[in-house]
Subunit: 685 residues, 2 copies
């Protein structure tokens, strides 16, 4: 029992530190009138989006709550296994327990998104203002804003899972928490992703390409929407995504320990406590790591990057030491489990490093894309797609090796534990991720408020650093999503008591085909949504330039109608998130009901395998295009304004929805389908 | 025995008809001096490529011959199962039988490619010349050229498989024939695909975009290479691809009938004879169908398309009737098998029709891409990728449904038989496919030889028709490849006597991950090869315009150095085909040896599932971009020379390697890996 309370304590501590950092950031000066005004516009737009999104989702959550209560908890069909578990003595009273866990997960995810957005839209103005003084204060504020997000996510995650476990002691019930987190995450990722890229593509195509305005120029009507998008997509979306990987991996590992053959079904069995304890230790390590991220005033980019890496690696090593000692002290845990956790952390780092190699302009692949841009737009696209496609090699081999080692050491349980290990220091890795959009926004605000160009230079170097950590973070998000989804799939197999998904059974093969289809369909729908919404945005921006006299010329006192652009992005993205979201939830249920439980297992495997590759392809192609453009902007192959630059901008614009909408949305699709199968599985037998 | 001789007779008849049509085409007038001169350049370039390609491949074939003889036939490791089969009394003498079958397959594939190219490079000038008289004679010549290819492929295929079966009566040995066909096909598809698209992209980017020359302008140094490319890629590559699907599906079905539990192991067992008999009946039907393709002189596009469809559908119905009667007359064959064959034909048609919907400008998807082109290059790319991604839905569901029905009716054998059914009328479907490049080339020759514009109009309408049938043919090629690969995978499982590839076994899961990786890697490598080779071509074309005085202006007597452009494409493509080819052969052997036979099963399934989706995505996105450009060129959204047109040209250029290099190469990858596993499988246990 002690360990579970330690885990909860770690979560509470994370929330307290987050609250402290929140105060620390908001107590900083929020800048002059112009900065505050722009900040307020971004804040309003972001909060308006969140309000409308959550209003839609509230209705959805209520429906799912009722479905879960009726089908699973009160077992109307007579197929649910929850009742059997009650008679095991774990639960003494019948009630809508899974539905309640679902609600808790949904609220937890929404809360984490809300808090993360709140700090991000406050941190941006303060970062811009601090950048007037120097690089170090600006880094501290941006990083602390990111840390609020990171610690909130892990805090709510571990507290939620552990308390539900203490109350219900039933993996099927707490899977509801994962389902709640997943379903909110899916909509947040898809909606936010479409929002941010519709605005970004619209702002770039008309503002930068047609009207020849610089990035973040205040005359561009879509700029505020673009800044809002950074928050709703990159902060809230990424946070929700990793919140659910975090909760999902812990839940899957508990379920695998509980339902395995010969398992000790005691809610405090060492193998069940371990993932929660590991998460708790990781939180302590993350808090320490966060506090050591600082840099000198005359720091170079290298120093900055080193400072962040020092924090991340430090936290990883602390987490490993802590877990190692815990396992050694616990006689009933094999030390092999330590190696499993190490494997998880190493695989995450390998994927992150490979991602960096393929998407950073320091290395050959991105330079090749930049070079190919000399022969025109199509060459840039062909080159980026080629790089993206074969950038899948190292991550796939790393994941495959990780699965193999983890399984040899600890069976299917090992796959879940490796995922928890990879995510154990999420508190700090997410902080380095969420810090990027804050720095990016700060730069936009500095530009629009007409601050000293030196300020923009400082925020630009913070932003460039953020791009590198964001690329690593994306690889991490995909890697952890795959391990989590596989662990959930294995748990599904155990819960429904099926011990093989045989590819020589045509139903399994059909399931796998349909499963592999879903990420493609999903990516297609989200790409189309971005294309359509960006089209509307482009028309609106063109209209404003045409109809508002003096806007393009920058006549004094003439401002664009930013609110209309924000509204277009908001409506377009909220409308477009519905269909993909419903498909993700309905597909496993339909396949399970009409083709059967074996086919559903095949479907999960097919979706994980194809989705992993498609997600990495899209994320890396997008990242590589982005940085090929930046490389040319540094003065290579003709620099800004040259023909190769125009080609590279095309690549970057195509890459935006690749890396920030479709690619990441696939992560959640995989996990959501797996957790839906785990919960509804017993109905399909 | 009679049936097998009927099958051989059908094959011989196909070859005789092909020879007759060859004479019929070559007896037509080959045009004036200018036409003959250009035709000769194309012919030289194409034959030079084939000679160099086959020289490289000859060395490769010798190596594989030795490997097969040593490891499989003479069983040096002691693991081969061929010896066991000898003791079954099927073979009385030890010899390099598999190696010989391999050699026969390789030679058969090379021969089919050689004959197909030979007629295509002769048919093109004659089609151009006939188009001076009218549409109907031009259609007849172009279609007859295609029919030579189609009938040669099925003739060599059925004669080769059936004779080897009569001699050896051993599915492991005749699998060697499939391996030979696959390995040549892979190199032909990859090499030809890189060749054609490097030339095409190079010709388009500099000639059309930079220098503002029209398509096929004789001043463009890359035009001859582009014309050669149509032959080496679209004729020889596509022919080799379908030759091996054809042979592979028959072999896999025989193997499934032979090795199934409780199988009657008699080389004339009804279920073994059926696929060969079905292929034979299909050949008779194809010959009849071919002879009814004709049209009136004042035919519209609709008439032309109807004429081709009439031939294809007619052949399909005849094949069904013939097979139905044969099955009814044969007491030991269940009539369910008739439904299986029908399912195969229907699934092929559904995939073809879906492909047409997503890639023809008659329908909404392509129109949407054209419309999106109004907002710039990136919008075109985003729209095409979105369409390509979700165009996978119908083909996936069709294949899944087909597998399910075929399996329910006839077990794993049904999956193989459905593939043979789909390909039974290949004689005519391939004819309508191979006819396209001939018409395309004829147009190019008409343009370069300065024939009457009316001639070009006629060849253009033949070409437009060819694009539609080619799109359908691509869907067909992918669909048949998937069914064939699945049947081969099932045969692999039976041969090594493994009855489950369980996705809950981490090795199978790892295998599936690595298998899914390979199509992505393969597509990445081939895209990169096209990008690199096109880059060299662009530099060369720019150099010629810079250094040859009067070339750009079209001064009389000034001609580009076409031979150098041809040489660049030839060298670039032959160099780039090696690595992907070796990966395809080495990967299953390495996984089988080091991870095991179960992992290899997972790998095959992973490659088939992910490869199918990736191939359809790439083929359809490419086809849709192509036709979006054509739609704009008809005068929509600004027409030729407008900004939307420039954006659409970018889409088309990106789409070229998508649809003609990477996408189709994946088909062969799947089949090749499956047949390699079937042959080497016994060594991995």
């Amino acid at each position: 029992m002690t360990e579970l309370y330690i885990a909860i304590g770690a979560g509470v501590l994370a929330l307290l530190v987050a609250a402290f950092l929140f105060r620390l950031v908001t107590n900083q000066p929020s800048g002059g009138h112009a900065v505050q005004e722009i900040g307020a516009l971004i804040q309003e737009g972001a909060m308006a989006f969140l309000r409308r999104e959550y209003t839609i989702l509230a209705g959805f959550v209520v429906i799912i709550f009722i479905v879960l209560a009726v089908l699973i908890d009160f077992n109307v069909t007579g197929n649910s296994t929850i009742e059997n578990l009650i008679s095991d003595g774990n639960l003494s009273v019948t009630g809508p327990w899974t539905a309640i866990a679902y609600l808790a997960g949904a609220i937890g995810s929404a809360l984490a998104g809300y808090i993360g957005m709140n700090i991000a839209v406050r941190g941006n103005t303060r970062t811009a203002t601090a950048a007037e003084t120097g690089l170090n204060p600006a880094l501290r504020i941006a990083f602390n804003s990111g840390a609020v997000m990171g610690l909130t996510v892990v805090g709510i995650g571990i507290v939620g899972v552990t308390i539900l476990w203490l109350i219900f002691g039933n993996p099927n019930v707490i899977a509801g928490f994962g389902f709640g987190a997943s379903s909110i995450a899916l909509f947040a990722r898809v909606g936010g992703g479409i929002y941010t890229k519709a605005a970004d593509v619209g702002a770039d195509l008309v503002g930068k390409v047609e009207a020849g305005l610089p990035e973040d120029d205040p005359r561009n009507p879509a700029v505020i929407a673009d800044n809002v998008g950074d928050n709703v997509g990159d902060v809230a979306g990424m946070g929700a995504d990793l919140f659910e990987s975090y909760a999902g991996s812990i839940i899957a590992t508990i379920a695998l320990a509980w339902t395995a053959a010969n398992a000790v079904q005691d809610i405090e069995a060492p193998k069940i406590v371990l993932p929660m304890m590991l998460a708790g230790i990781g939180i302590f390590a993350s808090i320490i790591g966060t506090s050591i991220v600082r840099t000198k005033d005359d720091a170079t980019m290298g120093n900055l990057l080193w400072s962040l890496r020092f924090g991340i690696f430090g936290a990883g090593i602390l987490a490993l030491i802590g877990t190692g000692i815990y396992i050694l002290m616990n006689d009933s845990l094999s030390f092999d489990l330590f190696w499993v956790i190490l494997v998880g952390l190493v695989v995450g780092q390998v994927i992150g490093t490979a991602t960096e190699y393929f998407t950073s302009y320091e290395f050959a692949p991105v330079k090749w894309i930049a070079q190919q841009s000399q022969t025109g737009h199509p060459s840039t696209i062909i080159a980026g797609i080629a790089i993206g496609l074969y950038s899948t090699v190292i991550p796939t081999i790393a994941i495959a090796a990780g699965i193999w080692i983890a399984y040899e050491l600890a069976g299917l349980y090992g796959i879940g534990l490796a995922a928890v290990g990879m995510l154990s220091t999420l508190g700090i890795t997410l902080a380095t991720d969420a810090y990027g959009p804050v720095a990016d926004n700060a730069g936009g605000i500095a530009e629009q408020a007409g601050l000293d160009p030196e300020v923009r230079e400082r925020t630009d170097s913070l932003d460039a650093l953020g791009n590198t950590t964001a690329a690593t973070g994306k690889g991490f998000a995909i890697g952890s999503a795959v391990l989590t989804a596989m662990a959930l799939m294995a748990a599904y197999g155990q819960v429904i008591d099926i011990d093989s998904f045989d590819l020589l059974q045509p139903k399994v093969l059909i399931g796998a085909l349909v499963g592999a289809l879903l990420p493609f369909l999903f990516a297609g729908l989200t790409m189309q949504a971005v294309g359509t919404a960006a089209g509307h945005m482009i028309e609106e921006v063109r209209r404003q330039f045409r109809e508002i006299p003096g806007l393009r010329e920058g006549a004094p006192g003439v401002r664009p109608d930013a609110a209309r652009a924000v509204d277009i992005s908001t409506r377009g993205s909220l409308k477009a998130m519905i269909l993909p979201g419903l498909i993700a939830i309905a597909a496993p249920i339909l396949v399970g009901l009409f083709v059967g439980a074996h086919a559903l297992g095949g479907m999960l495997a097919g979706s994980i395998i194809a989705g992993f590759l498609l997600a990495i392809f899209m994320a890396n192609a997008g990242g590589a295009w982005d940085n090929a453009k930046k490389y040319i902007e540094l003065g290579n192959f003709g620099g800004k304004g040259s023909d190769p630059h125009a080609a590279a901008v095309t690549g970057d614009t195509v890459g935006d929805p690749f890396k920030d909408t479709s690619g990441p949305a696939i992560n959640i699709l995989l996990k959501l389908m797996a957790v839906v199968s785990l919960i509804f599985g017993p109905l399909f037998i």
